[in-house]
């Protein structure tokens, strides 16, 4: 800027003035002359602005009335239709909008058209003066001196030690916010109870699924038998146990070694919880045999044991080993052979635990 009246000189070494000096710069001409508004010179215009402001305030009154009428005249009974609620919402909103905008635009119009619009200039003052600084230093020195903290290091050090340790209980007391994770994430409801294998049942009604119901190309959203009967932790178990069941041409499945018996007649079951951050992988593209997660578009290929073929997931969806029981219903022959859902620090440890 042309003229610094804040008292700070343009130091040659610290400020790039690029060889310019004050002489070569334009001088600040000062504030431009004030221009009068129509309402300043013409009483008719001023009167008109006054009426406009009053009309705006009047609009606000109407808005308030609209709100009150909409609130009391429209009753939300037990048989209210959505249309009534929408209408009331619209009227309450419009009433509030006019009530507020009337006041707001009225005041602003008043300020812009009728209040003085002279710009004034005010000096800035130093945020900190050298005099204040010196006085503050003296005060701090006096305070420190009076406490004697420099002369009595024993007091200082014990205080520091005490203050450093004192917050520890405040941290410790949050220890019961949650239980230790232990191995909770390693197991799901699919683990057989004794000899009884869990049936695959439909989500959400819990009816068991016969292998013969599953035609080629179809897909089922599956929950374990007994989930709906749980009273506590139902959602927790569901969040780990949900499965997608699909039937493909058996020749298009390419089971790896050890997984040959995990499917039945082309019917395969995979965890529905994405290995990325845990959204349900709910979209099944029947033609391409792809599973797609709608949250972050991770794509898994059913014909390659749900290998990741696109998107941010890094691990295949875990497969649930299935078979058919004596009555022809699909059952899980064991729990998942790895933890389901998003990865976590102890995941590999848990996988080894499951397979040991």
């Amino acid at each position: 800027m042309g003229n610094h009246s804040d008292g700070s000189p343009n130091h040659s070494g610290t400020v790039a003035t690029a060889g310019q000096n004050e002489v070569e710069k334009f001088q600040d001409p000062g504030l431009p002359p004030h221009r009068l508004r129509l309402a300043d010179t013409d009483p008719v215009a001023a009167k008109r602005a006054e009426r406009q402001v009053a009309i705006l305030f009047g609009t606000s009154v109407i808005g308030t009335l609209v709100f009150l009428v909409a609130y009391f005249a429209i009753d939300l009974g037990d048989d209210t239709s959505i249309a009534t609620i929408r209408t009331q919402n619209l009227l309450l909103g419009l009433g509030t909008a006019f009530a507020m905008l009337g006041i707001g635009t009225g005041i602003v119009h008043w300020a812009k058209a009728l209040m003085p619009d002279h710009e004034v200039s005010e000096e800035r003052h130093a945020i900190r003066t050298e005099e204040d600084r010196q006085a503050a230093v003296r005060i701090v020195d006096d305070i420190v001196d009076e406490t004697g903290i420099k002369r009595r290091p024993l007091i200082r050090n014990t205080l520091l030690g005490a203050v450093a340790l004192a917050p520890l209980p405040a941290l410790a007391i949050f220890g019961d916010l949650g239980p230790r994770p232990d191995n909770a994430l390693a197991h799901t409801m699919w683990a057989p109870e004794g000899d009884k294998l869990k049936r695959l049942t439909r989500d959400p009604d819990g009816t068991p699924i016969k292998a013969s119901d599953v035609t080629i190309g179809s897909a089922f959203h599956v929950i374990p038998e007994g989930l709906n009967e749980l009273h506590e932790g139902k959602l927790n178990e569901k969040a780990k146990a949900v499965v997608l069941l699909m039937r493909l041409d058996p020749d298009s499945l390419n089971p790896s070694e050890g997984r040959e018996n995990w499917s039945y007649n082309g019917i395969v079951a995979y965890s529905k919880i994405c290995t990325h951050v845990g959204c349900p992988v709910a979209l099944y593209e029947q033609q391409t045999h792809h599973l797609l997660c709608p949250c972050h578009q991770s794509t898994f290929d059913l014909t390659q044991e749900c290998k990741v073929i696109f998107g941010p997931a890094s691990r295949p969806l875990p497969q649930l080993p299935i078979a058919v029981d004596a009555e022809g219903y699909l059952v899980a022959t064991s729990d998942f052979r790895e933890p389901v859902g998003p990865s976590y620090w102890e995941r590999d440890e848990h996988e080894r635990l499951i397979n040991s």
């Binding site: 600040d28 949050f174 994770p181 691990r315 620090w345």
Partner: protein, 557 residues
């Protein structure tokens, strides 16, 4: 009459209002406060309103939020919905979701309040963001306002935290999936991730504790912190006084504008009602977060095209852009038997980390590069700080690419293009978008500076074409008045500062790096026009003016 007394007679108020005011004034010293602030000068510019919008949105959030707390029940206990929304009648859901439905359908004005609250939250974060962009591009973060810039950055983070904790409260399907994603991100944190998740959710996801805990954060802790930061922010605004745009009569030593009373107070106060009115209009006419369409949270279903609220979008977009596998290279590693899942950890933490680190450090970076320790109260026009403006636009572009990626599926379905191609393009833009934005912005800023110079020296184009006697056509240029000209020439154009030796006569490596950065910042520069140049231009123009027979106009080409 005992006029001989030297002491002034005590003031005796004559009216009832007067005696009441006097009573208070004698006890709190209101006169002194009014004397200090009643006529305090505030500069006026439309771009100064963004911060006001943020403040007013927050006030509206407090008011509408308080209303909502009277009816909302943050319990995850199971219930069967008995309210008047028939499609969900008798459906099993949490009490939190049920009470959110009741607010929408059975409390008069409840839906309106919910929508005002949600729109105000979206506007709050948006206006904060735009306000920070304004502050950045005009250099308002420079001394003495560096710390207030940091407070603003903290406010932006707190606003996003307030938004996210509130977004999750209705316990609907959409917000539940949002929590599921947060849980997945937390679990990816090395060593403490699993524990943190269990502590946050009170056990396994989703548990029965999270809504109640988010509720306390949302209505108590986060708003209290926001309020505290706003108080600090405004206190510093008073201490610093407001910045002003450059122009005739404005310099670093003064503040030019309207006095607080009456004009500025009326405009700012009236503006609160305008913000409120606009939000009410939006809540009246535009549905936001129709939770009744989503159903209660259930870990199994999810709807296609799920979106977070806009301010979380950039993190969600980064999660989408990161490939989990490139050819056969997996980003999930097992090291010493522990799982490190970089495909989640990197996109969740690194881009946001870079954005906020650079944002918080920028005032000190620029101060170090320019060695400029002066106070700045006059703003830069963005074109007059081309490199800073280019950095800002590059960062903003980076943010926008990630934000757009959060809608990659919607882009694909709306424009009938392949989702995979959209992702590949956005991945490319993630890297080259900011570079292109930097180069283009810097060139535009320099071009605008040259245009300013041209206008300052030769006047503005009038559109009037004149044919000279010897057949040449010229356009008549009208000279600027000195006020308009000063606006175009009254700025600093810092030149690179070469590395300087320290007090031991040594040029340190750090100083060399600073000099390199200084060169990168300022080697392309357009100096403001000088009076001598104007003189030269006028002499040239005057010559032609005589030839053209124009006595009054100063011509140029």
């Amino acid at each position: 009459m005992s006029a001989s007394s030297t002491a002034e007679a005590p003031f005796v108020p004559k009216t009832k209002v007067g005696s009441f005011t006097n009573f208070v004034d004698e006890r709190v010293g209101g006169s002194g406060i009014l004397r200090e602030f009643g006529r305090k000068v505030f500069p006026d510019h439309w771009s100064f309103m963004f911060g006001e919008v943020a403040l007013y949105s927050f006030v509206i959030l407090l008011m509408s939020g308080t209303f909502l707390t009277f009816f909302f029940d943050p319990s995850m206990a199971e219930t069967h919905y008995q309210g008047s929304y028939t499609p969900l009648y008798n459906v099993e859901m949490s009490v939190a979701y049920s009470s959110s439905l009741n607010i929408s359908f059975d409390v008069r004005g409840g839906l309106f309040m919910r929508q005002v609250h949600h729109w105000a939250a979206l506007l709050f974060v948006a206006s904060l963001g735009v306000h920070m962009l304004r502050v950045f591009f005009t250099g308002a973060f420079r001394k003495p306002r560096e710390m207030n810039w940091v407070v603003g950055g903290v406010l932006l983070i707190l606003a996003m935290a307030a938004g996210f904790t509130g977004y999750s409260l209705p316990d609907d399907l959409l917000s539940g999936n949002g929590l599921r994603i947060i849980d997945g991100v937390i679990k990816s944190i090395p060593v403490i991730g699993t524990y943190t998740s269990f502590f946050l959710f009170g056990g396994e996801f989703p548990g029965t504790a999270i809504i109640g805990r988010l509720y306390v954060l949302h209505i108590l802790l986060v708003p209290a912190l926001i309020l505290l930061m706003i108080v600090i922010h405004l206190f510093m605004v008073v201490v610093h006084k407001h910045t002003q745009y450059p122009g005739p009569g404005r310099n670093d030593g003064n503040v030019v504008g309207y006095p607080l009373g009456p004009v500025y107070a009326a405009k700012a106060g009236g503006f609160f009602f305008i913000v409120f009115g606009v939000l009410a209009l939006m809540a009246a006419a535009f549905t936001i977060n129709p939770i009744w369409n989503y159903g209660p949270y259930d870990p199994s279903p999810v709807s296609a095209g799920t979106q977070p609220d806009w301010y979380i979008g950039f993190v969600d977009g980064a999660l989408r852009l990161m490939p989990g596998v490139i050819n056969d290279f997996h980003f999930e590693w097992v090291i010493f038997g522990r799982t490190l899942t970089l495909n989640v950890l990197l996109p969740a933490l690194v881009p946001a980390g870079i954005i906020f680190t650079v944002l918080f450090m920028y005032p000190w970076i620029e101060r170090w590069v320019t060695k400029d320790n002066r106070e700045h109260h006059v703003l830069d026009r963005p074109r007059n700080a081309p490199t800073r403006t280019a950095i800002g636009v590059a960062g903003f572009t980076w943010y926008c690419v990630m934000w757009a990626a959060a809608g990659s599926d919607l882009i694909a379905t709306h424009f009938h293009v392949s989702l995979n191609d959209v992702t590949y393009w956005l991945r490319t833009l993630f890297f080259i978008g900011p570079v292109i934005a930097f180069i283009v912005t810097k060139r535009i800023a320099l071009a605008l500076q040259r245009k300013d110079r041209e206008i300052a020296l030769h006047g503005r184009e009038t559109g009037r074409i004149v044919r000279l006697p010897h057949g040449e056509f010229i356009e008549v240029h009208a000279p600027l008045d000195e006020y308009k000209r000063y606006k175009l020439v009254g700025f600093e154009s810092p030149a690179p500062i070469p590395a300087q030796p320290n007090e031991h006569g040594v040029v340190t490596g750090k100083e060399k790096r600073r000099a390199a950065l200084s060169r990168w910042f300022f080697e392309d520069r357009v100096a403001p026009a000088t009076p001598a140049e104007l003189e030269a231009a006028h002499a040239h123009g005057h010559h032609e003016a005589i030839e053209a027979g124009e006595d009054q106009k100063s011509l140029s080409h």
